[in-house]
Structures are given as structure tokens and as C-alpha cells.
Point group: C2
Chain length 314, copies 2
């Protein structure tokens, strides 16, 4: 069986031209050059198969998604992603898994110019913890606490697709075409971190985060930390065609509470909206920041009462 050093070397020690990496994998720690006048942005997330994705998820998708959820956190801060550290526990030295996993991970890393600069492989229950490091000019970082009364509330892409994809994966009865089911599963397995949008929002959005636990719960963090409330128009929620096939109550539940979409939710003044450049993902205004605390939902102007409990880890 190959040793830890062979595993690291074979699957994770790729040469990549990156002047910011003074020293990468192969020493006690990596040495990394932060661009002048920028600050470090750091986040870590653990990915467990059967918990963060269905058991049947391919190793390639696991590699993609374990990295994507971390890059999504950097996107939400307006950071440029630069480096990742990868800690992986495996029950055994499964080379098929490692080959596919690393292919999925490096495809996404390469797409966004991210270098793997360190890691640790351990024998244990399958679990992946990635730490993603990026940089941003200090004054342009996006946080959760700056939403202002009157700002528009926006989301990127569409919401609820990953939740519907999970229902498909778990074999729950949903009446979708084969194409629609495949689309939703792809949204679940291959979330796209909205890094270009995060960069475009730098210095413009008053607050921003990524939707991991459900739009309502995640937006709630912005509202709480900004000490404001919100009015949301359910008829404005950006929905894919598979989601529109469901009864409205199911649609709203998925869109508001299912999470795992890794779209960005952000607040923006009308003045700053006008300054925003187009990026590779659509964005939709779904509501307005209000002085009255709490989150109020409307459909065709009428108040609605919906259970919006997001994902609970314990």
C-alpha cells in the first residue's frame, strides 16, 4: 500500500506557476506572499459524504463540491481566491477515489487560479476539510453587517434547485422529466462559486453572504447583524423551470429553506446597483431592506406565512 508521502505526491503535488507561492507542499508549512495593501481572507469547511452530499455522489463531484463550498465563502467576502489546504481522511488508501476526487478538485481550482499549497492525509472515516485562502483590499471586503434601510435585496442565479436535486437523489417522488432531474442533480453536485460576482460587488454591496443553509435563514444573518428587517416578494424569486413545475408551497419551501445552492445573497443601494458591471450570472432583486425588524414574505402584495427553518447541523 502506498505511504502517505507517495499519496500526497501522486495526487496533490502538482506544479502550478504561481509567483505568490514561495514554498508549497513539501515543507512543514506553506510560505505565501499576500499582495501589497490587501488583507487575508480565510475560511474552513468540512465535507462529509452522506451529510453534505448523498452517499451515491461520485468522487469527482465530491472533489468539486468540497472545494466549491469553500470558494463560495471567499466569493461572499469579495475575495480573490488564491490558495487552499486540503485535509483528507480515508478509511483506506483508495486510489480510484483519490484519482477521481483530485481530478474534480483540480478542475475547479484551475478554473479559478487556485493553488493547493498544503495538506494532510489520514486514515479514518471519509471526511474532507478544506481551508481556502484569498485576498481583498481591506476597505472593499463584503461583510454581513452593513445592510441599509432601502437597499435592494438580490440573489444570483436561481434558488431551490439543489434542494430539488436532493429529493431526486433520495428517490422522493417528484414529477420531473429526465432532463429536469439531471439539471437539479447537477446543481446539487456541482455548485458554482460566484467568484466573478463577488469581485464585481467589491466596494458596492452593503452586505453579502452565500446561501448554504437556505435563503431565509442565511438572509436572517444579514438582517440580524445589520439590525434591519426585510420585505421579500415571493413572486420575484428567481426559479428554474423544474422548480416551477411544483405546487407554489413546495416551490417556496425549497427556494427559501433548502439551501445548498451556493448563490450569493446581497444588499445594494440603487445608486450602487447602477455602478455594477455585468458578470457571468444573472442577479434578481427579490426584496427591500426595511427598518422594521424581521423577515416578511409577500405574494402578489399579500403577506404569507411559511416555515423557513434552514438546515440544522445537529
Amino acid at each position: 500500500m502506498p505511504s502517505e508521502f507517495q499519496l500526497i505526491s501522486q495526487y496533490f503535488h502538482r506544479q502550478r506557476q504561481d509567483d505568490s507561492v514561495i514554498l508549497g507542499i513539501g515543507d512543514d508549512a506553506a510560505l505565501l506572499q499576500i499582495p501589497e495593501k490587501e488583507v487575508l481572507v480565510a475560511t474552513t469547511d468540512t465535507f462529509i459524504v452522506g451529510r453534505h452530499c448523498p452517499e451515491r455522489t461520485s468522487a469527482y463531484a465530491i472533489g468539486h463540491k468540497a472545494l466549491a463550498v469553500n470558494l463560495s465563502d471567499l466569493a461572499a467576502m469579495g475575495a480573490r481566491p488564491r490558495w487552499v489546504l486540503l485535509a483528507i481522511s480515508l478509511p483506506d488508501s483508495n486510489e480510484d477515489f483519490l484519482r477521481e476526487f483530485s481530478a474534480g478538485l483540480f478542475a475547479l481550482a484551475d478554473e479559478h487560479g487556485v493553488t493547493v499549497v498544503g495538506g494532510d492525509t489520514t486514515k479514518g472515516a471519509l471526511s474532507i476539510t478544506i481551508t481556502a485562502l484569498g485576498t481583498v483590499p481591506r476597505q472593499q471586503a463584503l461583510t454581513r453587517h452593513g445592510a441599509q434601510v432601502g437597499d435592494g435585496i438580490y440573489v444570483s442565479g436561481t434558488v431551490g434547485d439543489a434542494g430539488l436535486g436532493l429529493q431526486v437523489a433520495l428517490g422522493k417522488t417528484v414529477t420531473l422529466t429526465t432532463e429536469q432531474a439531471a439539471y437539479c442533480q447537477a446543481r446539487l453536485d456541482f455548485p458554482q462559486p460566484r467568484l466573478s460576482l463577488g469581485l464585481a460587488l467589491r466596494g458596492l454591496a452593503s452586505a453579502c453572504l452565500d446561501i448554504s443553509d437556505g435563503l431565509a435563514q442565511d438572509l436572517g444573518h444579514i438582517l440580524q447583524l445589520s439590525n434591519v428587517g426585510a420585505d421579500l416578494a415571493l413572486d420575484q424569486l428567481p426559479l428554474s423551470s423544474p422548480l416551477k413545475t411544483l405546487p407554489p408551497a413546495d416551490t417556496w419551501q425549497l427556494a427559501l429553506a433548502a439551501g445548498d445552492d451556493y448563490e450569493l445573497c446581497f444588499t445594494l443601494s440603487d445608486e450602487n446597483f447602477a455602478k455594477l458591471v455585468a458578470v457571468d450570472v444573472p442577479m434578481t432583486r427579490i426584496g427591500t431592506v426595511s427598518q422594521a425588524l424581521g423577515l416578511r414574505l409577500f405574494y402578489q402584495g399579500q403577506p404569507q406565512d411559511i416555515d423557513m427553518t434552514g438546515y440544522q447541523h445537529f
Copy 2:
């Protein structure tokens, strides 16, 4: 059962005065200020109970050691430790464990001025992955590849104690007094990252690393990356009194191959040795860097042949 947010808030969200932390726990990622003219040093290590420590290890010791092994990597780079991100998987929301674990972790973090700036709690098999971040002036970082022929080879503290502590913990027959057994178990459970020594070696040591997998295997990394060899004098190995009670062959095996001591091993010219300031841990010269590749062992001037295989993770 408390939610993920309550758990994080209750045990890991401590206020600490640290101007370098622009934004800590509570947003998508931390925002961190790197000191001017310094570079980032980053390392990650997973800690699994039953693998990296005996099953009976206290939660307090697990918190200490999971952090210590990461800070030890920063010490080996000559870095000043600054921030950590903590990813913890727990089978259930065990508050007794979390209270003791966080007490052990924060005691060590506070001792070295380290702030916990982010984390993730997940339901899963017990596993802790810590990413430690530090900084160092670029030209003063300690690496593994600069050892020069003629340099002295040094280790800090004593070697082999943790290996002997593991034998005690596993109930293997060893003839130690109660005090000696307790000393070795403490060395196993509470390794001290040699951060002061790492700072003192900045710009002086030609190569440095920490001993995690065994002195012989770890020194081998320095030799390989520096393209040199070494002559070691077994009679010069710094040994604690418990280790000296064993037959010489057992002593050498533990000192050279058991690992887990988290002492520093480094190479230093005689000229730079004279410039070294005293720190809180003794250091001992155990050999000399040679042009002839490979590692040669001597006892009272006579060549010795000893199995020096270090820890294999798979």
C-alpha cells in the same frame, strides 16, 4: 439539542484583543491583517482520536494536542503564530467534550497569543482539523532544503519520551516508576510547540523541521531536500531519565523512530550557533551534515545498524 450556531458561539467565540483580526468568527470568512514585509505561513493537520492519541486521552489533552501539532509546524518555519481555524466533527452534540476540549485548546492558544478566527462544526466521526496561520519576514523563514555540509545537527529537548508514553498508555510492559510513567504520558499528551526556539533560529538555522514521525525519518527529509547526508552520534541523543532505564536498542528505537515528540530538529553552522540566544528549551548537537548521502549512525565511534522506519499513516 443546541444548534451549530449555539455550539460555535458558546465554546469557540471568545473575545480576544487582537488588532490583526479585522473580522473573526461570524461572517463567511475571517479578514486578517498580515504585518508589513512579512509573508503568510499556513499549515493544516487532522487529529483523530485512537490514531493520533490513545482512545483514553482526555478531551482537554485532545484540545491541547490538536493545536500543538499545528503550532509545532509554524515553529519549524520560524513563524510567529497568529490565527487558527478549527473544523471539528462530532458524533453528537457532546457538551462535556466541547467544554474540556475548548479549555485545552484555548489554554495553549492564549499562551502563544493565537486567536481562533473561524471554524466549522459538523456531525460525523470524531475528528479535528486545525489550520494554523502565522507570519515571518520572507528571508528569515526556516525551510527543509538549506542544510550545508559541515553544519551541526541539533534537536531540542529530549527525544523518545512520547513513544515511551504511548507504550505506557497501551499497557505494554515497561518497568518505570509511577512518576516516570506520568512524565512520559504527559510528553505524549501535552507536546509543547517550540515557538520561542523557532523565532530564535530565524535567519540562523540552515534547515529546520519538527519531529512528528520519528527523528530518523524526519531528518531524512532535510537530508533529501538539501542533497546532503549525516553522521549521527547515538551517544549524544538527548534522553530523559525514563528513557535511560531501557536497554540501549529499545532506547535508540524510540528516540529515532517513535516520533510524536514535536521537538525541533535543525542544522546550524558553528558561526551561527555562536549567534543563537538562549530560549526556554535546551538544544543538543547530535551530529554533523556530510557530503556523503544517507544517514549513518555511530555509538562510541562505531557504526550501528538500526531499523529507523518512522510512522506510516497508511
